[in-house]
């Protein structure tokens, strides 16, 4: 045991120096042929034949990319990247006028965040396939991603919180999503010396109402001692009213935490009874505190985000609600807190510990009854270690972090420093198998491994260090993930694949749960965007002072209007582009020369707006950026920009075809009108807004 650890430390140190040496030298020579880590023919186990589908959807957090990626398992194929907290020029998220409000915070527009963890919505402690929640660590936020549209539907800022790391874990029936502060700060935040941290800085555990789409709200915040709260997991079955948070820095150090927060032999797992808190708040034991935070929702029908400012938040102190929180001493700066499928065991990954401590929920209940306390921390009772501990896994490797379960009585713990997954048995606490990861695994994930019914077939290791696993790509390397077969007694490495950003945690669910519910297009008839183009008469161009609104339709293979004149330097042009297609997988793109933001990708039936402030006179091409059809290259137009004060009238030319498609798609108009429409021949003069008083009937509204 001792020897193994010593060796591990030496190996880790040696590899660091080696890498340092390489850094100043040259790129490592390419690896000779042959696999490292995989044994035998495993290809068939991850081969998903062309045209067939993966068994699981896996949702991998993107870490510093601020995004969430969808990967198919077992193939490891990247299916989609969903922008959540980060602007995404690829589809205009955070650039289009409709999506900008999603990134509003009390600090202003924050177009980036550090997306650490994922949490599928649960019913009865099992994934129900409705949503996945993700956290923003830096500017504390929690987002809800809809699993029918696979896009960000809602973002809530969390007040009084520094570093939303212990988030977004869900309770058994998604009653609440939690957020707890990694960095304690003064609550409410104020200007004060950092040296006065101890006793003045507070941690905050927030419970967010999450059971209804579009109505996320901070229900209440428990103000706790100023430790660093790290990760969490809600109870299940008998423990379903509780949620468990790891904490470290119980030293309350405010400087050189590396050393000063690693002094105590034991830190805490905080056991919080949320049912109890709920009733205390219900009895009026909380205090409403002034606050300033934002709630952003993407409207299902206008497809536009809106931001609501919130001015207060309900808070409650542990002293006002006896029995709501207890501390369980846990060795040494614990990281993950994971609850087994039965709800009885709480596994803490003590990242500097030499054992994996496992607490028992029933023992904890008994200890509370017996008042087996070992003092208190700022009034929060500390339970005796021996009174709650069920067992310790000996020799788990160096740096155990996170644990998932296979539903067959085994737990799998990721071990960072010795770079391996350790399989051990619940109840006997004996290690039964271990397998290397490449390299330094952070989280690991078993589909459903955090739920009451895991699918114990695969485990995914998400690693922090990549080094030589793929063709070298300069200094910055993609993070690596490995897929293991855990269906047998021995774990088996199946696949190694690069990922987007830095996946911290991930969740997976069986494809069959959501695959048939995927949205294919938005119904144009249900589009309630104020600038939607559902009918020919709605396309057109309109000036309101220095602002020019262009209501434009996009359909294979034309924009309407396609040529615009009369725009002036210094105008603000808003292109409201409606994709009037009603077919699957036919997005249209929109870009205009010199736009300082991004392009738009407009889904069928949807309206998106690009803001453009032309700075130079001249002709500016615009075009469709998403190859949509055989005549995609013809899907273009021009904007003529004249100097400010020019007398060029505002006009727009609309193609007959796109106007007709707009009418047909909206199903509007009488038969006579439809026949009249048919009479419109392309050889007639184009419809313009400048002079024709009847233009409104033919597809453009008069100039104002």
């Amino acid at each position: 045991m001792r020897n193994r650890q010593t060796f591990g430390w030496i190996a880790a140190t040696a590899s660091v120096s080696l890498v340092a040496g390489y850094g100043f030298g040259c790129t490592p020579a390419s690896r000779p042929g042959g696999t490292v880590g995989a044994a035998g023919d495993v290809a068939s186990q991850v081969y998903v034949a062309p045209g067939t589908h993966d068994e699981f959807y896996a949702f991998l957090s993107g870490g510093f990319s601020g995004q969430l990626s969808i990967v198919g398992l077992p193939s490891g194929r990247l299916l989609k990247v969903i922008p959540v907290f980060s602007q995404y020029p690829e589809n205009g998220y955070g650039y289009s006028e409709e999506t900008k409000p999603m990134l509003e915070t009390s600090y202003g527009f924050v177009p980036w965040d550090d997306l650490h963890h994922t949490a599928l919505s649960h019913t009865d402690s099992k994934a129900d396939g409705r949503w996945i929640f993700v956290n923003g660590n830096n500017t504390p936020r929690v987002a809800r991603v809809d699993l029918t549209h696979m896009e960000t539907a809602e973002i809530l800022e969390i007040p009084n919180t520094g570093g939303n790391h212990a988030s977004p874990f869900v309770t058994a029936n998604t009653e609440y999503v939690v957020s707890a502060s990694r960095f304690s700060i003064p609550v409410p935040n104020r200007d004060m010396p950092i040296a006065e941290y101890k006793g003045n800085f507070k941690g905050v555990v927030s419970f967010i109402n999450a059971s209804e789409a579009g109505k996320m709200d901070v229900a209440f915040q428990l103000i706790v001692p100023g430790f660093n709260y790290d990760l969490a997991r809600a109870g299940k079955g008998p423990s379903k009213d509780w949620i468990f948070f790891t904490s470290y820095n119980t030293e309350e150090a405010a400087e050189k935490l590396e050393i000063n927060a690693s002094k105590n032999d034991k830190d805490f797992v905080a056991a919080v009874n949320w049912k109890r808190l709920e009733s205390c708040v219900g009895e009026g034991k909380g205090t409403r505190m002034d606050a300033d935070y934002r709630h952003n929702v993407m409207d299902e029908f206008t497809r536009a985000g809106r931001t609501e400012t919130k001015r207060s938040v309900m808070t409650i102190l542990p002293s006002a609600c006896e029995g709501a929180i207890y501390y369980m001493p846990t060795p040494k700066s614990p990281h993950g807190a994971d609850v087994d499928p039965t709800g009885e065991y709480i596994v803490a990954g003590g990242k500097l510990a030499t054992v994996i401590p496992v607490h028992s929920f029933s023992k904890m209940q008994q200890a509370i009854k017996d008042q087996a306390f070992d003092g208190d921390a700022y009034g929060v009772p500390i339970l005796k270690y021996e009174a709650t501990i069920a067992g310790e896994v000996q020799d788990p490797g160096l740096g155990p972090l996170h644990t998932e379960f296979d539903g067959k009585g085994y737990a799998y713990t990721s071990v960072f420093i010795s770079s391996e997954i350790v399989k051990w048995k619940l109840g006997t606490w004996e290690v039964v198998d271990r397998i290397p990861t490449y390299y330094s695994v952070g989280h690991l994930m078993i589909p459903g491994g955090d739920s009451r019914e895991p699918f114990g077939k695969y485990a995914l290791a998400m690693n922090k260090i990549t080094k030589d696993r793929y063709l070298p790509t300069g200094m910055e390397l993609a993070h690596s993930a490995q897929l293991y077969d855990i269906s047998g007694d021995k774990m088996k490495l199946l696949l190694d694949f690069p990922t987007h950003g830095e996946p911290h945690y991930a969740n997976a669910l069986p494809a069959s749960l959501i695959k048939d519910r995927q949205a294919k297009f938005f119904r144009l008839a249900e589009n309630r965007h104020p600038q939607v183009v559902r009918a020919a008469k709605e396309t057109g161009i309109e000036r309101r002072g220095k602002t020019v609104h262009v209501r434009m339709s996009a359909v294979r293979s034309s924009f309407s209007p396609d040529n615009i004149e009369g725009v002036q330097v210094g105008d603000t042009v808003l292109f409201h582009v409606t994709n009037i297609e009603q077919d699957w997988d036919v997005p249209h793109g929109f870009a205009v020369m010199g736009a300082t933001n991004a392009e738009l990708l407009v889904m069928p039936g949807e309206t998106r707006t690009l803001k453009w402030v032309p700075t130079k006179a001249g002709i500016h091409p615009m075009y469709c950026t998403d190859f949509c059809s055989a005549l995609h290259q013809e899907m273009q137009g021009y904007v003529r920009v004249s100097p400010a004060g020019s007398s060029v009238p505002l006009t727009a030319v609309s193609s007959r075809r796109s106007q007709q498609m707009a009418r047909l798609n909206s199903g509007e108009g009488t038969p006579a009108e439809r026949r009249a429409l048919e009479q419109l021949r392309p050889d007639r003069p184009p419809v313009t807004t400048a002079t024709d008083p009847h233009a409104a009937h033919r597809g453009t509204s008069p100039q104002r």
Binding site: E581, Q582, D583, A630, L664, R674, E678
Partner: protein
């Protein structure tokens, strides 16, 4: 007079026509590599719809590339006429079954037969018109000599699409009604068990065999 059983047969034939009001008469399905889920049209007694709600406009959208007119059910007069004609046929069929006179019944079946032929011919004509009467000048895709008439029965390749056309439940119901009605007016009235008239006697299996070779010899 028709026997009771034949009158019941006639009434049943008339009632079978009611299915044509509920179910589509004809279905044309289009398949192409980039449409793995297929696109399709259903011709109902009073309208044309997509097999999936959005199919019609998507077919119209695609058809503009070859200069085909948009299919707009409101502009097709037959779709206003057909429910009336079919309704009248159904009602009069019941009446004829009630009256039970053989000549009247034969007249009704004759009208039905002519109506059915006219309907199918008219459908073919619309297909011809959509497929041939193209706005070639403004069509982005022009393939010399190519026309786009879908088949009446069966399958045909139209550029990247494979078009398959067959009667649907409503159509099969109408054809079955016609067949039943013909049986009703041609079958012998009495129940002596003697041979039925030639017109409806099923040909014995293999009866045409001697004809085939002799024809090919001449």
């Amino acid at each position: 007079m028709l026997s009771t059983s034949n009158r019941i047969l006639l009434a049943a034939a008339s009632l079978l026509l009611a299915l044509a009001f509920v179910f589509p008469l004809w279905r044309i399905v289009l398949q192409a590599p980039q449409y793995p889920e297929g696109l399709g049209l259903e011709i109902h007694v009073n309208t044309v719809t997509g097999v999936k709600p959005q199919d019609l406009q998507n077919i119209n959208g695609l058809n503009h590339y070859i200069g085909m007119k948009a299919i707009e059910p409101d502009t097709i007069p037959e779709l206003r006429l057909m429910p009336l004609a079919l309704g009248a046929l159904l009602a009069s069929g019941l009446l004829v079954a009630l009256v039970g006179r053989r000549t009247l019944a034969r007249l009704w079946v004759g009208v039905f037969l002519l109506g059915a032929l006219a309907g199918v011919a008219d459908f073919w004509y619309w297909q011809y018109d959509y497929g041939h009467n193209l706005d070639v000048e403004n069509a982005p895709i022009k393939v010399p000599g190519m026309t786009y008439q879908p088949p009446l029965f069966g399958t045909k390749k139209l550029l990247n699409f494979t078009a398959t056309s067959w009667p649907a439940i409503g159509g099969w119901a109408a054809f079955s009604a016609l067949a039943l009605a013909i049986v009703a007016v041609t079958r012998r009235n009495d129940s002596t068990g003697r041979a039925v008239p030639r017109a409806t006697r099923p040909a014995p299996v293999g009866a045409s065999l001697p004809v085939g070779p002799s024809r090919s010899l001449t």
